[in-house]
């Protein structure tokens, strides 16, 4: 029996190769094209959906948290012993740059000079970060995100850069849940109140980004901010850490834990710091993508079924002749299964080239401009290989079934074209 199976496979392969080689190039091209589209549907639809969120996650990493974010424990406002920790982390060979940040919640107020007593104050809540402009820029490239005005200089006095969504002219919808300041542009003066301390500052620049942590917050020079919050001990609220190329964030976080840093700070890789809802969205989008892809898979299977069925029906006479001269029906079924494999594999191979040779690098270089993120195409190799296996399997089944239907017909009826 295994010998017969192998023999049938061998004859099936022999017939399939010759059929494909001598088939119409247009027909073969069209079937392969359908397979390419199916492959793209399988990989790209879910890849883009996941990429919407992944783009957002990547932006948070590159523009705010870095590879590792060290923050104050949940029950504290600052990291104790920060100067030593900063010196430890900054000296690690795996670390390229760090940005210590002071932070506090604040109320911003604009238009207070022109406001009548009966008017509602023009205020908005925000988190204010005190940063070393050069170190922050080394980790997050914040200077490049200042769309209007200019970035902070170390000697700036009472100057801030402010996230665009704290300014009403940049907020796309009028949402009462998100208060924004009216008529504030570069050069405008606003008041910042942290605790009981209020200071008038000038807007030096406006941050334009799709990362919430930037667009709803305010940054000022750390020395200025320290005086507002009354911190002279050098204890910061968080430290963003950018690792050198190729370094593993988990390994570095574990190394820091070994040094005892976790005793007075919360150590998280950027992935660990992500809010759970983002993970849930990724999973949901993955599921949605799979659902859309399944429809594509069914369409491709039906296409192959029809193609092979028509092929087998029109070649019914030859199938009858083959059976008549003693070719095993199994060998004929194998030949159609091999043809289906050929279409699926060639379609997938071209699809792979399109996805990894063009779409992934192109979309990475020119992200899709969504309101909340720069969407990329996420196509992990493992998942893509699984989808190819799925496509090949369903195509083989779709090719095998009609071939079996025709092969099982009476031999003489097939030869004579009788129904």
């Amino acid at each position: 029996m295994p010998h017969q199976l192998l023999l049938n496979a061998r004859i099936g392969f022999f017939l399939a190769i010759r059929h494909i080689r001598r088939a119409s190039l247009w027909t073969t091209g069209l079937i392969v094209f359908v397979m390419v589209l199916t492959f793209l549907n399988l990989v790209v639809v879910s890849g883009i959906l996941v990429g919407l969120i992944q783009g957002s996650i990547d932006q948070v990493r590159t523009e705010f948290t870095g590879d590792i974010i060290i923050s104050a424990p949940d029950d504290k406002k600052y990291i104790e012993n920060s100067p030593n920790l900063i010196s430890l982390v900054g000296g690690m060979p795996e670390v390229r740059a760090i940005s210590p940040r002071y932070s506090a919640g604040a109320t911003l107020e604009a238009n207070y000079k022109t406001r009548k007593e009966t008017d509602k104050p023009d205020t908005a809540g925000a988190q204010v970060f005190g940063i070393d402009p050069a170190r922050e820029n080394a980790v997050t490239g914040l200077a490049a995100l200042v769309g209007d005005g200019a970035y902070l200089s170390p000697d700036d006095y009472d100057q801030i850069i402010i996230g665009q969504f704290l300014l009403s002219q940049y907020v796309p919808v009028d949402d009462p849940n998100f208060a924004a300041l009216d008529n504030v542009t570069v050069g405008s003066k606003i008041r910042i109140t942290v605790g009981k301390v209020t200071r008038e500052v000038t807007v030096k620049g406006i941050i334009k980004s799709k990362t919430d942590a930037l667009t709803r917050n305010v940054f000022m020079v750390d020395s200025q901010f320290r005086s507002m919050i009354g911190r002279n001990d050098g204890n910061v609220a968080q430290i963003a850490v950018l690792l050198a190329d190729g370094m593993n964030a988990v390994a570095v976080r574990e190394k820091l834990e070994l040094y005892g840093a976790s005793a007075f700070a919360k150590l998280q890789t950027f992935e660990e710091a992500l809010p759970k809802f983002l993970e849930d969205i990724v999973n949901t989008f993955n599921m949605l993508g799979s659902a859309f892809s399944s429809i594509g898979l069914v369409v491709a299977s039906i296409t192959i079924f029809i193609v092979i069925f028509i092929n087998a029906i029109t070649r019914r006479k030859y199938i009858g002749i083959m059976k008549g001269i003693g070719i095993d029906g199994g060998a004929i079924q194998f030949s159609y299964a091999f043809q289906s494999i050929f279409y699926a594999v060639v379609g997938s191979a071209i699809g792979l080239l399109v996805v990894y040779g063009f779409l992934v690098p192109f979309i990475a270089a020119h992200p899709i401009d969504f309101p909340f993120s720069d969407g990329i195409l996420v196509a992990p190799w493992g998942e893509t290989m699984f989808r190819i296996a799925l496509l090949v399997f369903s195509t083989v089944v779709a090719g095998f079934i009609p071939a079996r239907m025709i092969v099982r017909k009476n031999t003489l009826d097939s030869i004579l074209g009788r129904n």
Binding site: L7, F14, L15, I321, K323, I325, G326, I327
Partner: protein, 225 residues
Amino acid sequence: MIETKNLTKSFWDGGTETKVLKNINLFVKEKEFVAIMGRSGAGKSTLLYQISLLDEPTEGEIIIRGAETRGMAQKEKTLFRLTQCGYVFQDYALLPDLTARENVALPLLMQGLPRKEAYAKAEDALGRVRLAHRAGNLPSALSGGEQQRVSIARAIAHRPALLFADEPTANLDNESSEAIMDIFSELHKSGQTIIMVTHEEEYARRAERVVTIDDGKIISSIPRA
């Protein structure tokens, strides 16, 4: 070699039975060349399909080389046709995607021969029908006569015990038909058992015996003088 006992074949159209073969008793000896003749619709092709195991009779027995074929499973019949029989069809029945060599080699490959050996035997068979020089051509590049010669080469390449031919000259001109019949005569001389259906008396005369069928019955079985 082949013996039929009370072979009957009926077709049903709705509730109406049409008996195409009626109690056929035929015996073909080993190495015999038998021509089956008859007018159109007499049942000669139907008889050939029954004794070549391409079809299942309604009643009666077919004994080939001492083996009763009635209880054979389809797989067994397929294997029997592969190893014991060769077929030449009226319309050549070559596979259009395969070259002449590949068409001839296909049954040999199915028998498990390595490709090199199968191709060598195929080329030998093509040589016997004087078509070795066309081995690499697709059927579409061959004339009708050449295609039929390839069909014969395919039928004899594995040296079957029985060669069945269904009107092998029906679609050919006189010259090609003569060439085909010459090949059959040579094969017969070399000891090949041949059963050929034809409606052309001139070619039937090349056989050792002419069996004539009319209305599903054998009406004569005359050895060649």
